[in-house]
Every structure is written in structure tokens, then in C-alpha cells.
């Protein structure tokens, strides 16, 4: 059987398949369906300093080959997370990536600080959530603000730090470069696209928050392009995502330049999909006689 191991910065992943933040909770539910230790890693639901109830109104809307979500970072807050969820995650034999969101720089700093005192494998700084009015994505639009937050966060944590970027960024390559310069260990690409859906009968947006985040196969071609653009210009590794539905999509992302791939929406369509993707990658390596995935990362 093929060796699917990849090294992402200093961290070793037994395979490149990671579940994307917000689509996999803290792993408990999917662990009832299969043994999630088979995964390369898990990125947790986005955690904020304080508990958040999330957005009101409709939270999900189906679009052609996509979904829009407006969860709005519902989460228990960092302290409850550490108390209630982390012990379960720590016992797992897979990499645990804590995804952290926020509305202000201070919030981010405080949340990262508390998480950093724990044993976690990686922090994924979400500066790209389009579903929270007062912040989050704001940091991920302009290179300058992104740079500032990465600089500050890097100073307060030694835990491997990856920055999750927004496809709504003005210049994704410039932001990625800034993250690299400020000492990030990797880049996560991409969060959801800001989109709109309208209920024409009521003449109102579907979502209370008006705009919501588009994910799924619809966005794959754009996500793949962004991964490739960033890959060509930065040397820290990339976690690629956006519409990965099967192993072939995953290989495309790796060939475009992703070292690891994250799978989000696809979990909803088929709860076993990550296992199938891992298997698909193994078989592909066997067939194509690939000894290490390094051989194909960024090959196009």
C-alpha cells in the first residue's frame, strides 16, 4: 500500500485529507459513523473567545452545485471548548487543528493565547468568515490588516500557525505573501465566497444577514486557481479546499500546489467521503507508481 504521508511545515500528516472547519463539528458526530483516526487531520468548528449563538433566520440554502451557509460562527467559546471538547480531541490519533475566529484583534489574541496554553497540533486562524457582520472577514480582505493580525498572533504563539484566507480578498497572492513574511507556517485556501440569494416572492434576501458563504463543487474551479496562484508565489505549504467532492478533485488540488486538502461540504453529501478520498488517493498512487505525494504537489 502506498505511503500517503505528507509533511506540512514541521507537522507530519499520515495522509493529506483533513476535514474542513465548520463542517465536521469537533469530530464526535462523524466518529459515530467511522473511525476518524483514519483522517490526516481535523480542523475544528471555528472557535471565538466568547460563546456565540450564531445567526438568526435561515442558515442554509442550496444553489446549483453549491450551498450557502450563514451559521455565523455558533460555538461554545474558547473556555468551554477547552473544557468540553479538547479532551476528546486530544485522545485522537490524528492531527488536531483548532480553527479560531474573531471580531477584533484583541479577541483573536486572547483566544489564541488560551488555546496556545493547551496541547494542540496547529492553529488555523480564520480571517475569512463572511458570515459575521462585525468582523472576521474584514481582516482577510486587505493585505495590510491581514499582515497586522498575523504579525501580532505570531508573537504570542509557538504552535504551528496557518492562516485561512478568503476568496473575497482583494489580492490573495499578496495576502499570502504577507502571511509568509510575518512567520505563518502555512496558508489555508479558501473559505467561502460571499454570495446572495433572494426570495422573489417576499422580495427579501433569503438570509437575515443578507450575504452568506458559498461552498461546494460550484466554486472548485476558482478555488483551484487561487491555490495555484498562491503556490507559485509563496513557499510555505498550502491546505487547499473548495468543492473537493472526490479523490480526483483532491489530486487536482495537490497538482495545483496544495500539500494537504480539506474537505467540507462533501461530508454532508456522503459522510464516508473522506475515507473514500484517502482510499482513492492510495489507489491512484499505486496505479501511477507514485512513491510520495511530494512528486505531484504543484506539478502542473
Amino acid at each position: 500500500m502506498s505511503n500517503t504521508q505528507v509533511n506540512f511545515s514541521s507537522i507530519e500528516f499520515k495522509n493529506p485529507v483533513i476535514t474542513a472547519s465548520g463542517t465536521f463539528g469537533f469530530g464526535r458526530e462523524y466518529n459515530e459513523i467511522y473511525d476518524i483516526n483514519a483522517l490526516g487531520g481535523i480542523s475544528t468548528k471555528g472557535i471565538t473567545l466568547k460563546r456565540r449563538r450564531g445567526n438568526k433566520g435561515m442558515r442554509i440554502w442550496e444553489t446549483p452545485s453549491g450551498i450557502m451557509n450563514s451559521v455565523g460562527l455558533e460555538n461554545p467559546g474558547v473556555d468551554d471548548f477547552i473544557r468540553d471538547e479538547l479532551p476528546f480531541l486530544k485522545k485522537l490519533d490524528t492531527n488536531m487543528i483548532v480553527n479560531i475566529g474573531g471580531s477584533t484583534l484583541e479577541e483573536y489574541i486572547e483566544a489564541v493565547d488560551r488555546v496556545s496554553k493547551q496541547k494542540v497540533d496547529m492553529i488555523e486562524l480564520n480571517i475569512s468568515c463572511p458570515n459575521v457582520k462585525e468582523g472576521g472577514m474584514a481582516f482577510g480582505i486587505k493585505t495590510k490588516t491581514a499582515r497586522k493580525i498575523v504579525k501580532e498572533i505570531r508573537q504570542i504563539t509557538n504552535i504551528p500557525l496557518i492562516i485561512k484566507l478568503s476568496p473575497n480578498a482583494e489580492d490573495i497572492v499578496a495576502i499570502a505573501r504577507a502571511c509568509e513574511e510575518e512567520g505563518a507556517d502555512g496558508i489555508s485556501l479558501i473559505n467561502t465566497f460571499k454570495g446572495l440569494a433572494i426570495d422573489i416572492n417576499n422580495r427579501k434576501p433569503i438570509f437575515d444577514n443578507i450575504y452568506a458563504g458559498l461552498s461546494g463543487p460550484a466554486i472548485k474551479p476558482i478555488a483551484l486557481r487561487m491555490v495555484n496562484e498562491v503556490y507559485k508565489e509563496v513557499s510555505i505549504p498550502i491546505m487547499g479546499m473548495g468543492g473537493i467532492m472526490n479523490w480526483k478533485d483532491g489530486i487536482e488540488f495537490m497538482m495545483a500546489g496544495a500539500t494537504c486538502i480539506q474537505v467540507g461540504t462533501a461530508n454532508f453529501i456522503n459522510p464516508h467521503i473522506c475515507i473514500e478520498i484517502i482510499k482513492g488517493i492510495e489507489d491512484f498512487m499505486d496505479r501511477e507508481n507514485i512513491k510520495s505525494l511530494e512528486e505531484i504537489i504543484g506539478i502542473i
Binding site: G22, T23, F24, G25, E29, Y30, E32, I33, K45, R53, G54, M58, R59, I60, W61, E62, P64, S65, G66, I67, N69, V71, E74, G216, P217, M245, T265, N267, F268, I269, N270, P271
Partner: protein
């Protein structure tokens, strides 16, 4: 993947689909169904209508793309289903009424079937808008079957006669029952609907604020104690 062994129209837009296989499920639970590969993207939640040795069935109403495609499937076609999911009706004793409105009757057949022997009394109330369907099926499992067509089924219901009411249907109907005064401490359980993605409690798109805090309809529900729910 499972094989469809029947998919029949009962009326213009109500169908029963029967799927071959050994399936499990508690009363009030649901499955996520997809009778297609890629499009539409999400699977559709449907309550267990009935489970027999070697098959499971769902009663559904054609609403949009997903249920339309379901309705076009034929005997012998394959279908994917995940489940059983959710926290269904409690297993109780005493006198029980099941009250369904419209397609909300779907989960009540299997509920009746399972509870029938175990409770002292099981009455079923079904409200239809235009025509009654499946009355013989529901009668099988009920001590008394009450029907309404075009009027409010709740008008026939005296909750004081029961220890438990399990209800599924339009929110105003369920709210009406919850608002009824009970001298008898009758416990009312309602089954809610929300748009879903994962169906298992991981994505939080089906969150529902209740008097006990934030809950997930797919995991903590779809069945709730009526008094804990905020109605619209």
C-alpha cells in the same frame, strides 16, 4: 446503495417509496435520502414511514427539485440513504394521541405501530386539506382514528384525555395543541423541520433556539417537548 422496490403516487403529489434492505429506526427518526448522484447537492430528510422485515418506506410530498427527482425513480433503481438520525418520540406508557397534519402524518404510522401494544390507549388524529389518504393503514394501529378534511383536526382533540400527545405538521397546528390548557399535565411532543445539511449534528445549519438554549434539530430533535419551543 439500496434498491427501490416500489415508488407509488397516492395522490397528485404524495408518494410512498419502498426500499429494500434491513433497516433500523426508532419512532420519529429520519433518514437522509438521495436518489441521484450529484444534483441537487444536498440529500433530503424524510421521516421513517414504516419499517418491515427487508424494507423501509417513506411517505413524501413533492415540493421542489429533490422530492421531484425522488418521485421519478422507478422500481429497480438505486437510492442512497443514511440514517437513522435524530432524537425521535420518547417510548412512553399511558394514554397517547398522535396528531398529524398534512404530510406531517408521515412519522406517525410507524410510531403507532411500535407504540400500539405498549401503551394503554392509542388514538390517531389526521388532518388533511383536500383528501384523506392511507386511513386504513393508520386505523390498523389506532384504538380510535379521527379524521378531518379541510377543517382543523385540533378541534376534535381534547388533550385532557391523554397523558402524551405526539404531533407533527404545520407549526400553527402544533402550536395550537401546545397552547391548549391541560388539567392533566399532558405532555406534548412536537416534531420540527429545518433545512439540513449534515443531518448528524456537525454543521449547525439546523440550529433551533429553544427555552433550553441552542439545539440542533437533526441531532437533539427533530422531536421536542412542545413547551420548550419558540413558535413563529
Amino acid at each position: 446503495m439500496a434498491k427501490i422496490i416500489g415508488n407509488e403516487a397516492l395522490s397528485e403529489d404524495i408518494y410512498i417509496i419502498i426500499i429494500e434492505g434491513k433497516f433500523s429506526g426508532e419512532i420519529g427518526q429520519f433518514y437522509m435520502l438521495r436518489g441521484w448522484e450529484e444534483y441537487p447537492l444536498l440529500s433530503r430528510p424524510l421521516s421513517i414511514y414504516d419499517i418491515n422485515d427487508g424494507n423501509i418506506s417513506f411517505l413524501y410530498k413533492v415540493i421542489g427539485k429533490g422530492t421531484k427527482r425522488l418521485s421519478e425513480l422507478k422500481e429497480g433503481d438505486n437510492i442512497n440513504l443514511q440514517g437513522p438520525y435524530g432524537n425521535g418520540f420518547p417510548k412512553v406508557d399511558g394514554k397517547v394521541a398522535l396528531v398529524g397534519g398534512g404530510i406531517g402524518i408521515a412519522p406517525l404510522l410507524y410510531t403507532g405501530k411500535i407504540l400500539e401494544d405498549k401503551v394503554d390507549k392509542l388514538d390517531i388524529y389526521l388532518g388533511f386539506r383536500e383528501e384523506a389518504i392511507l386511513t386504513d393503514e393508520y386505523r390498523k394501529y389506532s384504538d380510535e382514528l379521527y379524521l378531518s378534511i379541510g377543517s382543523n383536526i385540533t378541534d376534535q382533540l381534547d388533550i385532557n384525555k391523554y397523558d402524551y400527545i405526539f404531533t407533527c405538521g404545520p407549526e400553527p397546528m402544533m402550536k395550537k395543541i401546545v397552547d391548549m390548557k391541560s388539567d392533566n399535565n399532558t405532555k406534548i411532543y412536537v416534531s420540527l423541520e429545518k433545512h439540513m445539511a449534515c443531518g448528524i449534528g456537525a454543521c449547525l445549519v439546523c440550529s433551533c433556539e429553544t427555552k433550553k438554549g441552542m439545539t440542533r434539530v437533526c441531532k437533539d430533535g427533530p422531536v421536542y417537548l412542545g413547551e420548550e419551543v419558540f413558535y413563529e
